[in-house]
């Protein structure tokens, strides 16, 4: 089958600083991909370009055989690419349910701005959709809790849930486990991944913890100095000396093995 996302010699430079250069990646549908790389290696820049938050200086991004290069974020979102954030981006003064409802209602609204007036916030099916997603991420208990009082992990799940409630085909997770204690990380990731699998969503997640990558990724993209230096199965990628020297900085016996 054809790739859901195809990126060709993508480049982004801020003045003299080159944040990303000749990135070529093609992603088949329903694959789960881990993105690794040191800070400033260009991972987030990469995601920001796909989601339209940054406009590439060069190159093209095709989503489902459609050129989306330089489209505004909201249109890309409506096409079916959605993202979560390194720092969970939720609506702090609203309850978890309202957060989810807004996301759901936006996803189902028709006809632009004036559609937004016509659409009620808590339409039955939007509500149902929201509830369903809450259950999917196992945070239904927090339904009526204001988001600014949530524990970190739950907030992360809500953040991802809000990205998923609109049934995207491609989801980009920017460090889903950042700010989460080692103990929680795995449980959180497994909740997220089962949820995403159940909805057949193609996932691209940025991660620093190689164990997590090894455990959940089917394929790994290794970024260094703005470009992809390795692309393949976790096993082979993480074994590559350059990756170990430049990114993981350790020798790994096997994927999922001990790691400093």
């Amino acid at each position: 089958m054809s790739a859901i996302l195809a990126v060709e010699n993508l480049e982004k430079s801020f003045g003299s600083v080159v944040a990303a250069r000749d990135i070529n990646v093609s992603i088949p549908a329903e694959q789960t991909i881990g993105v690794i790389g040191a800070n400033g290696a260009g991972k987030t820049t990469f995601i920001n370009m796909i989601t339209g938050h940054l406009t590439p200086t060069k190159g093209t991004i095709r989503f489902e055989d459609r050129d989306i290069t330089g489209m505004p974020t909201r249109e890309i979102t409506r096409l079916g690419i959605s993202r979560s954030f390194q720092v969970a981006q939720v609506f702090p003064t609203m309850t978890v349910l309202d957060n989810m409802c807004i996301a759901a209602a936006i996803a189902r609204r028709r006809g632009g701005l004036f559609g937004a007036i016509a659409t009620p916030l808590r339409s039955p099916d939007a509500l149902a959709e929201a509830e369903a997603t809450l259950e999917l991420f196992q945070i239904g208990l927090y339904r009526h809790t204001p988001a600014n009082t949530l524990p970190q992990g739950i907030r992360k799940l809500l953040d991802i849930g809000m990205a998923v409630v609109g049934w995207p085909r491609l989801l980009l997770l920017d460090e889903p486990t950042s700010g989460i204690s080692i103990e929680e990380k795995f449980s959180l990731m497994s909740v997220v991944m089962t949820a995403l699998k159940s909805r057949k969503i193609t996932v691209l997640f940025v991660e620093h913890d190689m164990e997590i990558v090894g455990r959940f990724a089917e394929r790994v993209l290794a970024f260094y100095d703005g470009t992809v230096i390795a692309d393949g199965s976790p096993a082979e990628t993480l074994e590559q000396p350059r990756v170990q020297e430049l990114i993981t900085g350790v020798k790994l016996k096997a994927p999922g093995g001990a790691h400093a």
């Binding site: 989601t51 505004p72 974020t73 909201r74 249109e75 979102t77 409506r78 959605s82 993202r83 954030f85 981006q89 939720v90 609506f91 702090p92 003064t93 609203m94 309202d98 409802c101 807004i102 996301a103 209602a105 936006i106 996803a107 609204r109 632009g112 701005l113 937004a116 007036i117 016509a118 659409t119 009620p120 916030l121 808590r122 809000m162 990205a163 609109g166």
Partner: protein
């Protein structure tokens, strides 16, 4: 919950309407002006929920007023309802236009730019001698679908009309608050980035709010023009905008009905102050504003909400 709000609102409306014949004329006319201003305040509340405050709402107020006055004067068309609609539409169009500019701004910058725009209109009106410059000009008494009352009857008819328009506006705004577009206000105030990434244009929503509040401002100005019977450029001056924001604080963004109660309290307070201490009324108003901000941070609305919460109802059901 919304249903209950409607019942309360409807009751208020009916009582206010029924009270008119029993009240002395001066209270009726005071209330008319108060409720007309309440529409402008409603517009400010719409924006305030998105964290935006306009120090130039007088722009739309003045446009609405002058539209009514000019149409009545130039064309001799005097039907109150028609005139008010025209006033609202005119202000709405202006809002739609300046919205393209305003929608890019936030916080104090939004406030300042709207102030500049209203002051420009003020300047234009002061310059236009054909419109009586700062003296302004009078608005011929309106008719109501052919019925042309005088004296007290005119006062009452205007009062009822204002109530009617107010009720419709209140219901619309209430519905708007419950709609997606309405709830996005809080979302935008909380986290614009997330809103964009959910697939909504924040600028678009803000622009929409500017238009909604512009229309409300225009309606308010139109009604005020008819109630006062005179328009002048001061209607666009920044102190006018200031007093609208003042009332908004007094009322609080908590509820639609608060706008009307708050506006009525303000007019009553101002009038009583002017009566009791004619040369210290500014001080009285200032003190009132300070006390409200310090001790009623959510405005009059919050008092009611608290009482209702104690009464067991969910908070904010009036919105």
């Amino acid at each position: 919950m919304a249903a209950r709000a409607h019942i309360v609102g409807a009751l208020m409306f009916l009582i206010a309407a029924a009270a008119a014949p029993a009240l002395p004329d001066w209270i009726v006319s005071l209330a008319t002006i108060a409720f007309a201003n309440a529409l402008v305040v409603l517009g400010l509340i719409v924006m305030w929920r998105a964290g935006l405050v306009s120090f130039g709402q007088a722009l739309y107020y003045c446009i609405g007023a002058y539209t009514v006055a000019l149409v009545a004067r130039r064309t001799g068309f005097t039907d109150a309802i028609g005139l008010i609609v025209l006033g609202g539409v005119a202000a709405g169009l202006v809002a739609a236009l300046v919205g393209f500019l305003l929608a890019r701004y936030r916080e104090i910058f939004f406030a300042m730019l709207s102030l500049a725009l209203s002051m420009i209109l003020y300047g234009v009106l002061v310059k236009s001698e054909s419109l009586g410059s700062t003296d302004g000009f009078s608005v011929s008494p309106p008719t109501f679908l052919g019925y042309a009352p005088h004296g007290e009857a005119l006062g009452r008819s205007l009062y009822w009309l204002t109530l009617g328009v107010g009720a419709v506006a209140a219901m619309f705004v209430g519905g708007y608050f419950r709609s997606l577009a309405g709830s996005l206000a809080t979302a935008i105030r909380d986290n614009e980035i997330r809103v964009e990434f959910l697939g909504v244009s924040v600028t678009g929503i803000v622009h929409l709010k500017v238009i909604v509040s512009g229309v409300l401002g225009g309606l308010g100005g139109a009604l005020a023009a008819l109630a006062i019977g005179h328009v002048d450029p001061n209607m666009a001056y920044w102190t006018t905008s200031g007093s609208f924001v003042f009332v908004t604080i007094l009322a609080g963004a908590g509820s639609v009905a608060a706008a009307f109660v708050g506006s009525l309290c303000f007019e009553a307070l101002r009038s009583l102050a002017a009566d009791v201490m004619p040369d210290l009324w500014q001080m009285t108003l200032g003190t009132a504003l300070l006390l409200t901000i310090l001790f009623l941070p959510e405005g009059l609305g919050s008092v009611v909400t608290r009482l209702r919460r104690r009464g067991g109802a969910k908070p904010g059901t009036l919105t």
